[in-house]
C-alpha cells in the first residue's frame, strides 16, 4: 500500500509542514503506523551553501566521534547540532537524529569534475555500508529529511514539522513489508539533492541494484526504494538526461508503441531502451522524485499503483489520493490521473 504526496510551489513560496502532515494523515488507511517521513526543500537558508547531513546515531558517545573525524578528514564541519525532537507517546526514540552542515574539501578528489558531490556521495555510501551506528539519511543542500517509525502525525509532531518552511515537500506513509519499523527504512530516501517517495515494490530490483552498483553506488538500506534515488542521480546528474527522458528510461514505452513512432522519435526511444535496459523499473509503483528545481511523479508502465495530480496557482500537487490533495487545498484545480509511465513534472520558475 503506502501513501505518498508531493507539493511544489513553482514561485518558491514557502509552505510550513502542518498541512503536509494533515494531508498525509488523511491516508492513514494506506499505512500501518510503522514508518512515515517528510522532506522539505528551502529549510536551511542560512546554510544553503553547505551540505546538510542528517544522521541517525545509535549512540552519541560511541558513534559520533568517528563520524566527526571522518567528516573532518574530507572537509569542514561548519556547524552541527542535535535535531530537535519532542517526545511522543507512540514513538520510541531509538536513534538520536543529528544535523551537520558540511563543506567538502574538493582538492581531495582531483580527478572528478563534480568533486563536492562525489565526496558527499562517497561518504554517504561508506558510512551507510559500514553500519557503525551512524546512518546518513539526508545529504542535500538547503533541504532535510525527517523520518521515524510511527504514524504520519506522530512522526510530524516528533520533529514538530510545522516549524519547517519549504517550497517543495515530499511525504510518505508506510505499510512496510521488507523491513519492519526501522527508521532507516522509512521514506523519503535521499542522496544529495535527490529525494524519493515510493509506493509499491520493484520486481526488477535485482537487476537495477547490480546495474547501479557497477557505477559505484552501494545499496545499504534493505529496501528497493533507495535504488530509485541512485538511478535518478546517475541518469540526470551524471549522464545529463532531462527529468523527462530519465523517466522515459525508467518506465519506457512498450516496443509496440516505439515501433509506431516516426523515425527520429523511434530512434531516440530505441536508443534509450537499449542503453538503459538495466535501469528499467518493473513491478507496481507510483513514485515522486524531487530535486531543488523540480518535482516529478510517475508510475510503472502499466500503472499498478494510483497517482493523481492537481494544480492551484503556482502549486503542483501529486499524490496517491485526491482526498489528500484536497486536504491541503480544497480549491485545487486540474485534477488528473497521469497515464502509465507518463511523468507529471513541476519545475520552479527560474
Amino acid at each position: 500500500m503506502c501513501g505518498i504526496i508531493g507539493v511544489i510551489d513553482r514561485n518558491r513560496q514557502l509552505m510550513d509542514g502542518g498541512k503536509i502532515r494533515d494531508s498525509l494523515a488523511m491516508m492513514d488507511e494506506r499505512g500501518s503506523g510503522e514508518g512515515a517521513g517528510y522532506v522539505a526543500y528551502g529549510i536551511y537558508p542560512d546554510y544553503k551553501d553547505y551540505y546538510a547531513l542528517h544522521v541517525f546515531f545509535d549512540n552519541i558517545r560511541e558513534n559520533k566521534v568517528p563520524l566527526d573525524n571522518l567528516l573532518e578528514k574530507w572537509g569542514t564541519i561548519v556547524h552541527d547540532e542535535q535535531i530537535k525532537t519532542y517526545e511522543q507517546p507512540n514513538i520510541r526514540k531509538v536513534h538520536t537524529p543529528w544535523r551537520y552542515f558540511f563543506r567538502p574539501d574538493r582538492s581531495l578528489m582531483p580527478k572528478s569534475t563534480t568533486p563536492d558531490e562525489d565526496i558527499v556521495t562517497h561518504l554517504v555510501m561508506k558510512v551507510n555500508a559500514e553500519k557503525n551506528g551512524a546512518l546518513i539519511f539526508s545529504s542535500g543542500k538547503n533541504l532535510g529529511v525527517f523520518k521515524a517509525a510511527g504514524w504520519p502525525e506522530d512522526v510530524a509532531n516528533f520533529y514538530r514539522i510545522e516549524d519547517y518552511k519549504g517550497y517543495l515537500w515530499l511525504a510518505h506513509n508506510r505499510y512496510p513489508t521488507n523491513t519492519s519499523g526501522w527508521w532507516g527504512g522509512a521514506h523519503p530516501f535521499n542522496l544529495l539533492n535527490w529525494s524519493v517517495v515510493h509506493n509499491g515494490e520493484i520486481t526488477s530490483y535485482g537487476t537495477n541494484r547490480r546495474y547501479i552498483e557497477s557505477y559505484g553506488y552501494k545499496c545499504t538500506m534493505y529496501t528497493d526504494t533507495e535504488v530509485v534515488a541512485y538511478l535518478v542521480d546517475l541518469l540526470v546528474r551524471k549522464h545529463g538526461l532531462s527529468e523527462k527522458l530519465a523517466v522515459r528510461a525508467l518506465a519506457p514505452p512498450f516496443w509496440e508503441e516505439i515501433d509506431r513512432m516516426p523515425p527520429k522519435e523511434q530512434e531516440l526511444n530505441r536508443a534509450i531502451r537499449l542503453t538503459y535496459g538495466p535501469a528499467l523499473m518493473n513491478g507496481p509503483f507510483a513514485i515522486c522524485v524531487a530535486n531543488e528545481n523540480a518535482l516529478v511523479g510517475f508510475t510503472d508502465r502499466i500503472k499498478l499503483r494510483p497517482l493523481v495530480s492537481g494544480e492551484s496557482g503556482d502549486r503542483l500537487y501529486i499524490s496517491s489520493e485526491e482526498a489528500a490533495i484536497r486536504r491541503i487545498d480544497p480549491d485545487v484545480e486540474n485534477i488528473s490521473m497521469p497515464k502509465a509511465g507518463e511523468p507529471v513534472i513541476g519545475r520552479v520558475y527560474s
Partner: protein, 503 residues
C-alpha cells in the same frame, strides 16, 4: 582377442504375439539390428544404439529395448563405463570418440535453482491480458547517450548505435554445421527461425547455396579450420561468429569424420571429399587476446561494420577474464558454451571431463563485466544444456541476454539423444549425410516441430515473467534476486550470487 566380447549395451526383443512381420523395423534401422531370415525377423542386439527409430515406426508396439541387460559386478569406482573404455582402448590404442554432451552424472545446477512468483504485495502480470516483452537486442550498447537540445524543445540523438541483432524471443539455435547434421536438418531449422524471427548458426561448415533464402536469419561461423569461409559467406550472414572453442570439447578443434564428408559437404566446406575435417585446436592467427581483437576488426572491416561479430568460447575456469578481454574488443557478444554442450563427435575424455557448467560460467562472466563497468559492451549468449523454458529463464536471471539451443532443437526433430552422431548413420536423417537416411527428414514438417518448440518455450517464458511481476525481459536479466538455490553449497551460491530457499 583375449578380452572377448563385452556385454550388450541394449537388448532388443520383439513380442511375437504382437509382431505382424511387416518389416518396418528392418527398413528403418540404419544400424543393422534387424534382418529377415525366411519368415522370421532376426535381431542382432549388439548393433543397437537405442535411437528408437524402430520403436517409433512399429505399428504394433511390438519392440522392447532394454538397457544394460547384463550386469557387471557393481562397483562405485570401477563403473561399467570406465571398464568398457579400458576394453575399448586396450583393443584399439586410440582416443575414444563420443557424441552428444557430457555423460557423467554431475549435479545439474539448473535443477537446484528455483524461480520466484508474486503474491499479494506485488501483483503478477497476466500475459494473456497485458503486454509482455521478450524482444532482445544483441550487440554493443552505449553506456550513456549524447543528446542535443533543439530550439523547438525536441531532442536530437547524437550517439550512433552499433548494429544489434533484434530477436523477438531470447531463444536462438546454436551452431550445428552442414556435415555434422544433414542439409535437410539445417533447412528445417532455417525455416523455423525465419518464421519465428530468431537466428540460427551455420556451424563451421559453410553455408550451402540452398540456404541463401534464409540468410538474414543465419549467423555465419568462422572457426579455426576456416571451412567454407570467403567474403561471399561473410556478407550473407546477419552476424558473424568466431568460434574459439566449444563446451563439449574445450581446448581442441572440431571433428568431422570423413564418412560424413560427401560431395556436397566437401563443396560447401571447400575440402576434399571423404577427408576428415579436423579443425586445429587454436586459430593459427590468434595466439593472444590482441590477435582476437584484430580478427574481430578484420571481419568488421570486410563487412563494412554492418554486422555484429560474436565470439564463442567454451566455459572454462577463467571464462570471466576471457570475456572481459573480448568485451574490450569490437566484438558485440560473447557466447559461453557450457560443458554440457552437445557435439557430433568429441573425444570422450574431453566431453566428460573438461570445462564447467554454463550456469556458473555465465554468472561469473556477468559479474566480472559489471565489476569492470563494461557489461554494456557485450551481450552474453548462453549455450550448452538448455533443456526447457525454465532453464532459459534461470540463465537469463543469472545474467545471459539470450540462449542458443542445439540438442533440444534436434530432439524436436526426432533425435533420441543416442549419442552416436559421429557414426554418420543417424536413422532420423539428422546427423548423417547418407541420401537414403537424409531424405527421411522432411524439412517442412520438421520446421513446424522446431517452431512449435520455440513458440511453446516463449509462451512459458512469458508466463514465468508475468508471474514474477515483470513485463520486460531486461528486468529479468541478471535479476538473481528472483532465484533461490535449493541444496546448493555456499561456495556455489556465492558464485551464482543467489540466496538459499527461505532466505
Amino acid at each position: 582377442m583375449s578380452i572377448g566380447s563385452t556385454p550388450l549395451k541394449f537388448k532388443v526383443s520383439i513380442d511375437p504375439d504382437r509382431c505382424m512381420s511387416c518389416g518396418r523395423c528392418i527398413e528403418n534401422c540404419s544400424y543393422g539390428v534387424y534382418r529377415k531370415e525366411g519368415d522370421d525377423i532376426r535381431i542382432n542386439s549388439r548393433n543397437c544404439v537405442a535411437c528408437h527409430r524402430c520403436l517409433a515406426f512399429c505399428p504394433r508396439d511390438a519392440i522392447d529395448i532394454e538397457e544394460k541387460p547384463n550386469d557387471y559386478r557393481s562397483h562405485p569406482l570401477w563403473t561399467r563405463e570406465v571398464r568398457e573404455a579400458i576394453f575399448n582402448q586396450a583393443k584399439t590404442g586410440r582416443i575414444i570418440l563420443a557424441g552428444m554432451g557430457n555423460a557423467l552424472p554431475y549435479p545439474v545446477i539448473f535443477d537446484r535453482l528455483v524461480l520466484d512468483a508474486c503474491q499479494v504485495t506485488n501483483p503478477s502480470i497476466d500475459p494473456l491480458r497485458e503486454p509482455m516483452e521478450l524482444r532482445t537486442y544483441l550487440g554493443k550498447k552505449p553506456s550513456s547517450l549524447t543528446l542535443k537540445q533543439l530550439p523547438d524543445g525536441e531532442v536530437e540523438l547524437i550517439t550512433k548505435l552499433t548494429p544489434n541483432l533484434q530477436i523477438e524471443t531470447p531463444i536462438m539455435i546454436g551452431h550445428m554445421s552442414y556435415g555434422a547434421i544433414s542439409l535437410n536438418a539445417q533447412t528445417a531449422l532455417a525455416k523455423a527461425v525465419s518464421r519465428i524471427g530468431t537466428f540460427m548458426g551455420t556451424g563451421e561448415g559453410g553455408l550451402h547455396e540452398s540456404l541463401y533464402p534464409y540468410q538474414k536469419n543465419m549467423i555465419v561461423q568462422v572457426a579455426s579450420g576456416r571451412f567454407g569461409v570467403d567474403i561471399n559467406y561473410l556478407e550473407r550472414g546477419a552476424a558473424i561468429e568466431i568460434k574459439i572453442g566449444q563446451g563439449a570439447k574445450p581446448g581442441i578443434g572440431g571433428h568431422l569424420p570423413g564418412e560424413k564428408v560427401c560431395a556436397d559437404v566437401s563443396c560447401t566446406r571447400m575440402i576434399p571429399e571423404g577427408s576428415d575435417a579436423i579443425s586445429p585446436a587454436p586459430h593459427h592467427d590468434i595466439y593472444s587476446i590482441e590477435d582476437l581483437k584484430q580478427l574481430v576488426r578484420g571481419l568488421k572491416e570486410a563487412t563494412e561494420w554492418k554486422k555484429p561479430v560474436f565470439v564463442k568460447i567454451a566455459a572454462v575456469h577463467n571464462s570471466a577474464a576471457i570475456a572481459a578481454g573480448i568485451a574490450r574488443s569490437s566484438a558485440d557478444a560473447v557466447v559461453i558454451d557450457g560443458f554440457r554442450g552437445g557435439t557430433g563427435a568429441a573425444p570422450r575424455v574431453f566431453r566428460d571431463h573438461v570445462g564447467i557448467p554454463v550456469e556458473a560460467a555465465v554468472a561469473s562472466v556477468d559479474a566480472k563485466l559489471r565489476q569492470q563497468g563494461i557489461r554494456h559492451k557485450v551481450s552474453i549468449i548462453a549455450s550448452g544444456g538448455i533443456r526447457e523454458s525454465a532453464d532459459v529463464a534461470k540463465i537469463i536471471c543469472l545474467g545471459a541476454d539470450a540462449v542458443y539451443i542445439g540438442t533440444s532443437a534436434l530432439v524436436a526433430m526426432g533425435c533420441r539423444v543416442c549419442g552416436t552422431c559421429y557414426q554418420g548413420n543417424c536413422a532420423w536423417g539428422i546427423a548423417t549425410q547418407k541420401p537414403e537416411l537424409v531424405k527421411r527428414l522432411d524439412p517442412e514438417t520438421n520446421s513446424v516441430q522446431v517452431e512449435n518448440l520455440i513458440h511453446g518455450w516463449t509462451l512459458e517464458l512469458a508466463e514465468l515473467m508475468g508471474a514474477a511481476g515483470i513485463n520486460s525481459i531486461e528486468s529479468l536479466r541478471g535479476n538473481r534476486d528472483r532465484l533461490r538455490g535449493y541444496m546448493l553449497d555456499e561456495g556455489l551460491m556465492e558464485v551464482l550470487d543467489v540466496k538459499t530457499v527461505g532466505a
